[in-house]
């Protein structure tokens, strides 16, 4: 397991970590309106995880939590595909239907509505969970492997 770094790195990591994590969540949730989306927001949020693992050592994150987040992302993506099974697999039946992400988009130059897009925001959230879990697990496994050297 990796040792914690100096006090300067730890305090700066503690200040920057919530800002980076919130920006990653913003990129995921606004993926259907602005540049960014599931992968980009997930990569930014996973860099927040990497910052904490580098600064504080790998003890704050558990392997099971990140693995559960990754499995939840996969299941949510499959579920978002199965929602439209009345028409076809991955059919966007939630769009313009009212309810969750179901507002109709008005014509012309207007403000973008967050509650639009149907299953596209759901898939962005699923891909974001998947990328956070996968990249976080890679970082955690590498931080463990860096200090378990074989003695030969």
């Amino acid at each position: 397991m990796m040792r914690p770094m100096s006090k300067i790195v730890r305090s700066m990591g503690g200040v920057l970590y919530p800002l980076i994590a919130v920006f990653g969540g913003y990129l995921i949730l606004h993926g259907h309106l602005t540049p960014g989306g599931g992968f980009q927001g997930g990569a930014v949020a996973a860099s927040a995880v990497a910052l904490v693992v580098v600064a504080y050592g790998g003890t704050l994150y558990k392997k099971g939590v990140l693995s559960t987040v990754e499995s939840f992302g996969l299941l949510l993506f499959l579920g978002a595909g199965l929602i439209g099974m009345s028409a076809a697999f991955f059919a966007n039946t939630l769009a313009n239907a009212g309810g969750l992400f179901g507002d109709a988009v008005s014509f012309g130059v207007t403000d973008a509505g967050l509650n639009t897009g149907g299953t596209v925001p759901l898939m962005n959230i699923a891909v974001g969970c998947e990328v956070i879990g996968g990249l976080g697990l890679i970082i955690l496994a590498l931080s463990k492997a860096a200090f378990t050297r074989e003695v030969d």
């Binding site: 860099s47 580098v54 590498l142 200090f147």
Partner: protein, 84 residues
């Protein structure tokens, strides 16, 4: 006559080349990894200037942050100075 946007691009591209030279020349491998992160960050700025914000966000997240962390783990697991 060079316009302002062209001047910004020249400065950013010169910074990319300069930081890449630092990556090759540094003897301290942690410094080389940080210089590689700076090179990647300038590359994402160049993507943003060329009106590809999607690619810029992905490059900043993966290239500047995650690969630097992975290189730091690899250097911590082996040795910090380059000797030959």
């Amino acid at each position: 006559m060079i316009s302002l946007a062209d001047g910004v691009q020249i400065v950013v591209l010169a910074g990319i080349v300069l930081s890449a030279l630092f990556v090759v020349r540094m003897r301290d491998l942690i410094s080389a990894a940080v210089a590689l992160g700076a090179c990647s960050l300038l590359l994402s700025l160049e993507f943003y200037i060329l009106q590809a914000p999607d690619v810029a966000i992905a490059e900043a997240g993966v290239g500047a942050a995650l690969t630097t962390a992975i290189f730091i783990f690899a250097i911590k697991g082996t040795q910090r100075r380059e000797d030959y």
